[in-house]
């Protein structure tokens, strides 16, 4: 029953980040204590939504695990050097990988257990890292970023203003924020603004 994968596959050399022309490297804001956070855009990435059919959640999780080599379970999110995945709704994962073949690999791996939707072009992933990352994020999201409330590797769905966004904790003080591509520029602007008080570097 598996449907052929509907491809807008891969990201070719022609791919262009939505932040082109708005991604200025350097250090900014109040640098009295140096740049206390670092902002980066992670581009390009392969991004998929995996939506398990009721009853096939475990199989789907295992399939994602196989396809990405992540230490993922039905309820545990995971991050590795070249991939990450988190459950943002019951039976539903956002999977991100450096390997552009992710959509096909995943489609094959999950088979009839889940629907895979390629969102590689539809999302922008921004990373914030550094001692003050939680404070900056607190300005933007009504989410508790405290370590034990937001454990390492966990990912969640929320929104910024009225617009859907996702966040995954990828390091001690590092978070990936996944926003709609169309919203990336406005969000980037807000993120930079919120970081000015603590000083930031764009790498």
């Amino acid at each position: 029953m598996a449907e052929p994968f509907i491809s807008t596959p891969v990201i070719t050399d022609a791919a262009e980040s939505p932040l082109v022309g708005h991604y200025e490297q350097g250090t900014f804001g109040n640098l009295d204590r140096g740049a206390q956070v670092t902002l980066t855009e992670r581009f390009p990435l392969a991004i998929c939504d995996v939506f398990a059919w009721t009853g096939s959640e475990t199989k789907s999780a295992n399939a994602i695990k196989r396809a990405t080599k992540l230490a993922l379970t039905k309820t545990r999110d995971a991050v590795s050097e070249d991939a990450q995945a988190f459950r943002h709704a019951p039976g539903r994962w956002t999977v991100i990988a450096i390997d552009p073949a992710l959509p096909e690999t995943l489609t094959t791996a999950v088979g009839d257990n889940a629907t895979v939707v390629d969102l590689s072009h539809g999302r922008t992933v921004l990373r914030i890292d550094g001692g003050q990352s939680r404070r900056v994020l607190s300005k933007l999201f009504p989410i508790d970023f405290k370590s034990d409330c937001f454990p390492l590797e966990k990912g969640i769905a929320t929104k910024h203003h009225e617009i859907f966004a996702q966040i995954q904790r990828v390091g001690d003080d590092a978070f990936d924020i996944i926003v709609f591509r169309s919203y990336a520029r406005a969000f980037w602007h807000a993120l930079r603004r919120s970081s000015e008080e603590v000083g930031y570097a764009v790498e």
Binding site: M1, G29, N30, E162
Partner: protein
């Protein structure tokens, strides 16, 4: 002017740091750490404001947020902030403030003539007059409006400005186990205890300094606790932060003032920060506010709350006057008197309404010196610009009677204490009624529950030191002839309260509204209790039966900027299509469509929008054009029941749609009216791509999700929004196929390979694309979809391939023109009030299956023949039509009733005429009629039109099928 600064003392000030500031342009000096009120007192300034109604000169009465009189306007970078309490402005070098509500100056205000109105301006007088004549030019509302014009200018306090406030405001979300409101001793101890138990704690204190009203002797204890709290990682200490609102789910709002007290702000620092704090538990340690006593002449500058006077000396080293007197009904003022004496003040007399006092008070009275007049009351004051003398008479507070003559005492400052009111505001915001405490003669917070607790003075735990009793005598007013003020700022007198009672405004809420008691900037912090005590007296009812007025957020006024932080100006959320920069680089005017920005038209230099769109539309009809359709909502619909699902949500059938074909679909709401339209593409047996209108993308997505989760959980269907995944460009015009043929590889695009509504996959310039042949313009047209990151690349490739065919980009205006000519509907017609039949889409209503809306769409109101239905309209005079014009049968002089309206208009290059679409009464039957398009509100045009079919161009659709 005499300096009132003592040579020593003052826990907040830095005697080595003199700062200069101006009031109304006049230079003053203060010390770093001073509030404006303290610095002005130190400079011997007494008049610090004018009252609202009578413009009476007023001095500062309080030391904190309860100050009703001393209000100033602070101007920073040309932006005005009116009504700032002098007790909250921290002076810095260069501070410039302006006094308010006076003309020409604070000391000489001509508006003070209002006082002469005296009793005529009593409560409620507005309602009884100004009705004006019933005939003549001032009849109706005119006379009132004339008077109102003058009244408005006399009212108001500070003057706002018109310059944009460029300050930055920020928002922050916080979470904790315990939020402590108030950084006095009670709050600090509560915080310490919780933090030692490992709790995550936030402490907010509205003052710059910690410690609240605590005695100077407690300074080291306070320092110790603060140090200890500061060292704990899970404790956040926020000073200059007022918690002002308590919302459902223990969500509290607070405003942190970050740079107001600084001459220059650090880089990146916001002026104010809006804190939204979600907490497990709230500990209210908000202290208590001292309240005044109402007596004749009680508003003269120099009359001040006793604790305020005490603290001006202790905190700022400033004496509130040279020759002090005290009026009290309780023991706490004795402490103030003794402490002031200790720092060198001369206490002339202590006047206590009580006939006797305890040993503790007596001891303090002895220390304070001056005459102790028990069983006495102040019955009047005098002094032109400030207090000079008070009149004192023997008083029995039980019988409220006076005896003997009155005695004059010279004094420039009368310190008053009428008892203490715990700050119950926050606890009561959610609606819980505070509880009257007979002993304290005060309202205490309602009973706490598991979400909150109350500590210290806020709980009624008023500890003034051993031997002193917290219980005052129940005296709120000393009733004697003369104007006695209850609400200082609003000039509400005790007689006004009684008049309200007399006229039947007896509920406290009526009292408030009729007299405006408690509606000023201090929200009655100093006046509410006295007001309701006077009303209770008039009603001969106990105070608790009269009750309080309702407490509402904010506790103290909060800047609009802070609450709105990051939601306006350049931080307003907006979304851009992948080709956005290309459009702006090529002269596109952008159009704000909800969150989106879309090209309206590409204006070559000097062109008007109309010239541009006509040119663009012509190019599409005659050659080929390209338009960005990336903003259309796109939804991936997958699963074995996907076709069945579409059958249920669309009015027409989708089950038999072949793979690689698309179909136009219409959705209704449950009530049978049209909701949205769009095409849905079958990409595989169980996989569809639905498109929606830009405006309805979110609404349709939620509708589908609701249907699946709530109504039909048995359907195996997954829906995912893929709006952002795809860039979309529609290439339209007779030459469009040739352009595609020249640049698409991997698939043929001829009529056989790609028939009308067919879908193919190929590549353009090395990038995979999906192409569907469908047409909104009515021309041969295709929608080319590719991954959004490739959007600009494919767009540019299409432009390049189209160059030999003179391709041009077109914007929303041209798109609109083309669809109007074709009679295709958009949101202007699917406006939530139209049915499928109104729009001639009844051919899409399947009779073979039920669908959302099918049960309701045939009700009489939806099928009535006189409903407005869609028609085309052509200008017969060549004049420009206007969207929103109404269709009428009569000429300009007698247009008659509206028959409906134009939903859209354009100049049609194809028909060489201004054309439009209209929804008009029984439209079908009017085709061929000559009517008028009337636009009296805008263009004043009255244009002869002919009603035609809404299919104005190529009614048979030969072009798009060709």
């Amino acid at each position: 002017m005499t300096s009132h600064r003592r040579p020593e003392g003052g826990s907040a000030i830095d005697r080595d740091d003199t700062v200069g500031f101006t009031v109304d342009g006049r230079q003053y000096f203060g010390l770093a750490g001073d509030t404006l009120a303290a610095a002005l007192l130190a400079n011997g300034v007494r008049v610090m404001g004018r009252s609202f109604k009578y413009h009476r000169p007023r001095g500062v009465v309080a030391i904190g947020v309860d100050e009703p009189n001393a209000l100033f306007t602070v101007t920073t970078d040309g932006v005005r902030e009116p009504n700032v309490r002098a007790t909250e402005i921290e002076v810095f070098d260069g501070l410039a403030v302006e006094s308010q509500n006076r003309w020409p100056s604070l000391d000489n205000d001509l508006m003070a003539v209002n006082q002469l109105g005296g009793k005529a301006l009593a409560a409620g007088f507005y309602y009884k007059t100004f009705m004006g004549p019933v005939i003549g030019p001032l009849k109706g509302t005119r006379f009132w409006m004339m008077c109102e014009h003058v009244i408005r200018r006399a009212a108001g306090l500070g003057r706002p400005g018109t310059a944009r406030d460029e300050s930055r405001y920020e928002r922050i979300n916080a979470f904790c186990d315990l939020l402590v409101v108030g950084g006095g001793l009670a709050g600090l101890h509560t915080a310490l205890e919780a933090s030692e138990a490992g709790k995550r704690v936030i402490v907010c204190e509205l003052e710059p300094r910690w410690g609240g009203g605590a005695d100077g002797k407690k300074e080291s204890e306070i320092r110790q606790i603060v140090d200890s709290l500061e060292s704990k990682p899970d404790v956040t200490l926020l000073n200059r932060t007022t918690v002002w609102g308590w919302y459902d789910g223990n969500t509290l709002a607070a405003t942190e003032r970050i740079t107001d007290h600084l001459r220059t702000a650090p880089e990146g620092a916001p002026r104010h920060r809006h804190w939204v704090i979600r907490t497990g538990h709230v500990a209210l340690a908000t202290g208590a506010l001292e309240r005044p006593i109402v007596f004749p002449g009680n508003d003269r500058p120099g009359v001040m709350l006793a604790d305020a006077g005490h603290r001006y000396a202790e905190t700022f080293g400033v004496l509130p006057g040279q020759h002090l007197t005290v009026l009290t009904n309780n023991d706490s003022a004795y402490q103030a008197a003794a402490a002031l004496r200790h720092v060198g003040a001369n206490i002339r007399a202590i006047i206590d309404v009580r006939p006797e006092i305890g040993a503790g008070a007596q001891r303090l009275a002895d220390r304070a010196g001056g005459a102790l007049k028990l069983g006495h009351a102040v019955v009047g004051t005098s002094g032109a610009k400030g207090l000079k003398t008070i009149s004192v008479a023997r008083y029995n507070h039980q019988t409220k009677s006076f005896s003997g003559g009155s005695e004059q005492i010279e004094t420039d400052c009368l310190l008053v204490s009428g008892g203490w009111s715990p700050v119950v505001h926050l606890a009561s915001q959610a609606g819980a009624q505070p509880i009257w405490d007979e002993a304290l003669q005060a309202f205490l917070p309602p009973d706490p529950d598991k979400h909150w607790s109350v500590h210290g003075a806020a709980a009624g735990d008023l500890d003034f030191g051993h031997d002193l009793s917290p219980a005052p005598a129940p005296v709120f007013e000393i009733r004697h002839p003369g104007k006695a003020f209850v609400d200082f700022q609003h000039d509400v007198t005790a007689d006004d309260v009684r008049l309200a009672h007399q006229e039947g405004f007896r509920s406290v809420e009526h009292l408030k509204r009729y007299t405006t008691l408690g509606m000023a900037t201090d929200q009655g912090k100093t006046s509410n209790i006295a007001g309701l005590a006077i009303m209770a007296d008039a009603l001969k009812m106990p105070i608790p039966e009269v009750g309080t007025t309702r407490f509402r957020p904010p506790y103290t006024a909060a800047s609009l900027g802070a609450i709105a932080a990051e939601r306006y100006g350049d931080l307003f959320p907006h979304r851009l299509t992948p080709m956005h920069d290309w459009h702006t680089d090529h002269g596109a005017r952008m159009y704000a469509a909800g969150h989106w920005e879309r090209p309206e038209s590409y204006n070559r230099t000097g062109e008007t929008v109309e010239q541009a769109y006509v040119c663009e539309a012509k190019i599409v009809r005659q050659g080929v054009g390209l338009v960005d359709v990336s903003t259309l909502g796109k939804i991936d619909i997958a699963g074995p029941d996907a076709a069945e699902f579409l059958n249920r949500v669309y009015t027409n059938g989708f089950a038999k749609l072949p793979v690689n074909k698309a179909r136009y679909g219409l959705m209704l709401r449950e009530d049978g009216f049209a909701m949205d339209d769009g095409t849905t593409w079958r990409l595989a047996k169980n996989r569809f791509l639905m498109t929606t209108t830009t405006a309805n993308a979110g609404k349709v997505m939620s509708h589908l999700e609701l249907c699946l989760d709530v109504h039909w959980p048995d359907l195996r269907v997954h829906v995912t929004s893929v709006t952002d995944q795809w860039a979309g460009a529609a290439i339209a015009g007779p030459k469009s196929r040739e352009v595609l043929a020249s640049c698409v590889t991997g698939t043929a695009v001829d009529n056989d390979a790609l028939p009308f509504m067919g879908i193919v996959h190929g590549t353009i310039s090395g990038v995979p694309v999906m192409i569907c042949r469908l047409s909104f313009s009515g021309e041969l047209a295709y929608e080319v979809y590719c991954g959004a990151h490739h959007g600009t690349h494919v767009w540019e490739a299409l432009m390049t391939a189209g160059k030999p065919f003179a391709i041009a980009p077109y914007g929303l205006e041209a798109l609109g023109t083309l669809r109007i000519e074709k009679g295709h509907v958009t949101a202007a017609e699917i406006d939530g009030r139209t049915t499928a039949r109104d729009l001639h889409l009844d051919w899409m209503l399947s009779s073979k299956k039920p669908f959302v809306g099918s049960a309701m769409m045939d009700r009489e109101g939806l099928t009535d023949k006189s409903r407005w239905t869609l028609v085309g309209v052509v200008s017969r005079s060549g004049e420009k039509l206007h969207g929103g014009a109404h269709v009428v049968a009569g000429d300009r002089d007698e247009p008659g009733a509206s028959l409906g309206h134009l939903t859209a208009m354009a100049f049609s290059p194809e028909m060489n005429a201004y054309v439009g679409l209209a929804l008009i009464e029984d439209g079908e039957s009017r085709i061929g009629q000559h009517l008028y398009a009337a636009d009296p509100v805008r263009s004043q045009t009255h244009i002869p039109i002919e009603i035609v079919s809404h299919h104005m161009v190529d009614p048979k659709g030969e072009r798009m099928h060709g």
